[in-house]
Symmetry: D2
Subunit: 298 residues, 4 copies
């Protein structure tokens, strides 16, 4: 397949490399020339604009930081819609708000194209190893069409429903994640203060009704889970600022939908405090520092 | 073994029956004469006071609603400490605050006895089937002594550390549980409003980083998990008032320990609102009603 | 003065009428033809577009529901910037976010104009009686220029600092307001439940350290303050949906500024719950219903 | 009048001195011998026990840190009830929970005495100058009896209703106070970050709907109010730990009354964080530090 790929950051670059490995022909664009060079050496054709990258391709994939970037890349004078042929499908793997997805899908439709939201989970590790999960919002028919392409970059390609439900699935999952991590942090820190061995407490929770990914896989208390970021100084993993961004998407979507999100809004303030205190680059499980002696600073 | 058993409520009665089945000789007490009669017909000796139930036994077990009841049963004129022989161990399976446990343990020590906290999880179902989990706070030596007895009533007998850590483990686990359930409720209700099929959303969360017992076993959205209380009108299960009690124990213990519990304190208000609105007897997963159309009333 | 006035809603119409009364010549625009007709009969010239209303005037004033409307009216093909002469000042009295103000000010500057934010407080009553408070964000020089015009519509014309600080003042004040009202509601409802006469409690708070506008002027408990909306069934006053909008502006601005707002975010959820439950049109002091028997429904 | 006075701390000692100045005969007790000596030199008779201090007096006044102390002083072997004559009234000016007041009142009644709750506001300054406010919970008749005595120590003697409503008034007022102070802190810190001069913002709020004691008298931003603790490094004033205690009384009373207190519970966590971070002795307005650069440490 001939695929245009726009956005070669920490996630986009390894995803594009996996597409190349799978035998696809790539036309890539990014503002970062070093990222372009890397892809070029791996066999991609480089383009000078999103428009050029979207010309003469069968699919366009975007992987960008926020909705404003997707809008610019899509609708700019040198943007995708200016170069793309009719009936070509655009797959956006950025994590953005569902309302923007709907607006972009409308613009694509007016241009004779289909816009699919396909945000991912799995982090840079999953992007490199090609084991990402894709949450796809599209018709069933479009889902079947894009599935083989996404399979070159991920292991689980999940159809979530119509346009924008891929984003809905992602932000709802991460809403739960942000809350459970702060909740586990509260409980682990309380237990420590009340005198139980955190290792023991972790084991009990992990075989009880408090069991969750934030406890049994990514436990914020150092040493409970050997492979968790907490055990290596909260490095690597999923940054606090990324969690803050996703909780922002969730509370914004809730506001638009006129839906209360009590715990989500409070958890957002906790991660905001961490970020404001200078810990935005640490793994988000570092939120436990707000509940322990060192007061939340990195 | 000859065992005194005090407190024959929804949990205590089936626990005592399992001790009888295992061949122990029971001397039981409760204010409810009907409960006493049931145990008598099953082979127990009935006593007129806690003191009488604690005389000539090798262990005393208590299963009561709150710390005030334990105190009364322990220290009253006709209480356990008035009847019990020296060196006999008292096992309290009530869910109470860690500070009270320490106070009761001191009183027991002054009387020449040992006080063990061994709260349970598993509900009335686990009490009946003998599959409870016991969280034991005691020395390692005492733990080994009481383990065979507790094994007649439960499947997992976990040593949590010294006196009161059994309660610490339980309230920390339930603190996480109360938070995750409200968090999953928020996310499921938000997803529904944003247009994703809740069944699909449930499946995605359950295989992603939002995965937790409150989502994959007890999902609050009706129909996501066939066996969850939500699917049978929020009946059975773990009542909202019980969760409210446990969150109260957690925030009280945090206050005493001078430890902040942001999400726990907020979750407590949500369950309090449910209870005040008349839904205290529903399963605690009914907290999702606060986020959906019917406004939290049962 | 010749003034273009765009936006003749519940607030804009009486404000424009006061400008006419003060002897100014008005060129008005609104999509609502009935509102136009009213102003026409009062002596205003009606325009078919914002552009037309902004042609041949010495000042342009806008009073619109949200930033999106201001953007459309400002930058549309038939918008203000297309019709306005150089060096003319645009005064926006809408309540919008500070970031949008800065963006609009930049656009105005590029067009050779000055953009002043001058949001108001005082409600429709103040708009009618000409007793509004204007919070003005501009240079000191521009403030002196616009002050005489604003004085025809308001009693207090406060200079808050440079561009956007008028909005900052308004949303910070309303952030406090939203929090104090919910806080007073919590305390009044708790006091009632604990058996004190709410009238007595109101009087004590109003002469003590809990004293605040939400208690001594707009007390949410019916009957404490005769002139408060609570005493007339929560009608009139400042609607819950308007408070919700302003808290949304505050938490959005905080997010952008990377600043935590714990109580503000929680208060926002409380008003959101009220609105979702159908009470969006009631005065915002109706938030006390969340804490009293009827569960928040209107 | 002959009055027994028990509890000669920072508040009790100056209160007792004012009673002496007014010509009353005092029999005083405290565990602190230095405090006893001070009162002795001022003309009081010192007692060796609460019982002795309560013998042969016409009123007994207690001023103690918490309910546990009141209980001990009241019911101990050498306690008030052991020494007091029938029909004598006990006035408790400690700040304690309403439920304890009712329990103590019952004990007093059984002993043939009357128990009045009369907590104060006004701090050590008001205690010294005799300008305290007393919030009295009693029958109207008893209120008339105790008013002249309280007037020797305070300026406003407010009848709040029946037994325990004095405490209800105090904790409800302080619930509002704790919330408004944190709310004003949030708004002032947000305004600062968004670029408005905090002095200007303070003035605007103080003449607008955000106006409250926490803003116009005790503003947490340094320099806004010259006489506020914030302007002298958060020293003096009402300590964070005292606010934390009062919010604890409020949330405990709410729990017992089955009443949600969303903002109160959250504010409690904020002050708890301050206290845990070592700022418990600073004035409670130091809570603004959680929202500004230095992260909440003193």
């Amino acid at each position: 397949m001939k695929i245009g790929f726009i956005g070669l950051g920490n996630m986009g670059a390894p995803m594009a490399l996996n597409l190349l490995k799978a035998g696809h022909a790539l036309s890539v664009f990014d503002l970062n020339t070093q990222a372009l060079e890397t892809l070029k050496q791996a066999g991609a054709r480089t383009a000078k604009t999103p428009k050029e990258a979207s010309t003469d391709v069968e699919y366009v994939i975007t992987m960008l930081p926020a909705a404003a970037h997707v809008r610019a890349v899509l609708t700019g004078e040198e943007g995708i819609l200016a170069g793309i042929a009719k009936n070509i499908t655009i797959i956006d793997s950025s994590t953005i708000d569902p309302a923007s997805v709907k607006a972009f899908a409308d613009l694509a439709t007016q241009n004779g194209n289909t816009f699919v939201d396909a945000p991912v989970s799995g982090g840079t590790g999953g992007a490199t190893s090609g084991t990402l999960t894709f949450m796809v919002g599209s018709t069933a028919e479009t889902y079947e069409q894009v599935k083989p392409i996404l399979s070159a970059m991920g292991k689980n390609i999940v159809h979530c429903g119509d346009t924008s439900t891929g984003q809905v699935a992602k932000i709802c999952n991460n809403l739960v994640l942000g809350i459970t991590m702060a909740g586990v942090s509260e409980a682990m820190a309380l237990g420590e203060k009340l005198g139980i061995d955190p290792q023991v407490l972790g084991k009990i929770i992990n075989t009880s009704t408090g069991r969750c990914w934030s406890s049994d896989t990514y436990n914020p208390f150092p040493g409970v889970i050997d492979t968790a970021p907490s055990t290596r100084g909260y490095t690597g993993g999923f940054g606090t600022d990324l969690m803050l961004k996703d909780l922002g998407l969730a509370t914004d979507a809730a506001k638009l939908a006129r839906q209360p999100v009590y715990l989500g809004a409070l958890a957002q303030q906790l991660y905001q405090t961490m970020s404001t205190n200078g810990a935005g680059k640490l793994d988000f499980s570092a939120v436990i520092k707000l509940y322990r002696k060192d007061g939340g600073a990195s």
